[in-house]
């Protein structure tokens, strides 16, 4: 069954619950140096394979950018 999450502030639908590994593939972010937060909590990279997004999750995916 489909789930809807808030990804970096925007609503996003997925046909079915998916793992974070699957999410990153979906987003072309596989292998990139990123960090993920779910509902205000860090999601350790080690948990990407089995941890699954739930309907209603607020997800943040961040990267390092130029700044001072």
């Amino acid at each position: 069954m489909a789930i809807c999450v808030t990804l970096n502030g925007s609503p996003r639908e997925f046909p079915a619950p998916l793992t974070f590994v699957e999410l990153l593939d979906e987003l072309d972010l596989a292998g990139k140096r990123i960090a993920v937060e779910r509902n205000g909590e860090i999601v350790p990279r080690s948990r990407f394979p089995e941890a699954r997004l739930m309907d209603g999750d607020r997800i943040e995916v961040v990267v390092a950018v130029g700044g001072g």
């Binding site: 990804l7 390092a64 130029g66």
Partner: protein, 264 residues
């Protein structure tokens, strides 16, 4: 002078110039400027990825690999302790547990002056969570000392407003901080040109952090090198011990005190 290293959180650095990575035309200019600066510690910001965009393009950390540089994630854009803490937790995860961070909690978007109560609150939480906190702060000597007592590994008072390039506005407060705080004191924000960096080091600062002065110079790469030289020059001048100033003293009654020795 090989012995004169900058020690932060137990790690020694040859360069006392820390640089930001913002405001450059492109990654290539960023890389060339940072190499010219000789900086070993570079600050980066943490932002949301642009979902579905420029997937292929290189990222900042490809250009500045953590293997070569000490990456110092900052909390630029945070206006309260909670956002700053949350940002740095993400940064630590992003950098494989790297715990040296730049805490920066701003008071408002116009002045970018630090919000010190929020900065103190965030520092307390971060230190408890095992972060090694380098804190951007005002030049309030009492609060700079409090940051040290909370466990920050460095305090980084502003020279003048972020991005203003106004240089060292209040050397007296900086001097009190340098005199009292035992952890490294780095001037962060306000440097506009090379002599400003030299002045900061001559006051006895342990280092200088800047971004705009290099990135917004007409020639960022040349300015980056100028800053490298200026920080070294200021440091050596501080260690060498400058001559005493001898202002002309109008005092016919005491010609001795009025006498200015000539240089030949």
């Amino acid at each position: 002078m090989a012995a004169d290293k900058l020690l932060i959180a137990g790690k020694a650095y040859d360069s006392r110039l820390l640089v930001g990575t913002g405001k450059y035309r492109d990654f290539d200019e960023t890389r060339r400027a940072i190499e010219a600066s000789g900086a070993q510690i570079v600050t980066v910001a943490i932002r949301r990825t642009n979902i579905g965009q420029n997937a292929g393009e290189p990222s900042l950390l490809d250009v500045l690999p953590p293997s070569r540089f000490t990456i110092l994630p900052n909390t630029a854009g945070c206006y309260n302790a909670a956002d700053a803490v949350r940002t740095l937790r993400l940064a630590r995860e992003l950098l494989d547990g790297h715990s040296l961070v730049k805490l920066e909690v701003l008071g408002d978007a116009q002045s970018l002056y630090p919000n010190m109560p929020e900065t103190l609150a965030a520092a307390k939480t971060l230190v408890a969570e095992g972060f090694q906190v380098m804190a951007y702060c005002s030049d309030d000597p009492i609060l700079a000392k409090e940051l040290e007592e909370l466990g920050c590994v460095a305090v980084m008072p502003l020279a003048s407003l972020i991005g203003s390039g106004m240089g060292i506005v209040n050397p007296w407060n900086l001097q009190i901080i340098i005199d009292r705080v035992k952890v490294p004191v780095l001037v962060d924000a306000g440097i506009g040109t090379a002599s400003d960096a030299a002045v900061a080091m001559e006051l006895g600062c342990d280092g200088v952090l800047m971004n705009t002065a290099i990135a917004k110079a007409r020639d960022p790469v040349m300015m980056a090198h100028a800053m490298k030289l200026a920080v070294e020059a200021g440091r050596e001048a501080y260690r060498a011990g400058r001559m005493a100033k001898k202002p002309y003293e109008a005092s016919p009654s005491s010609p001795e005190s009025g006498l200015i020795q000539k240089s030949a």
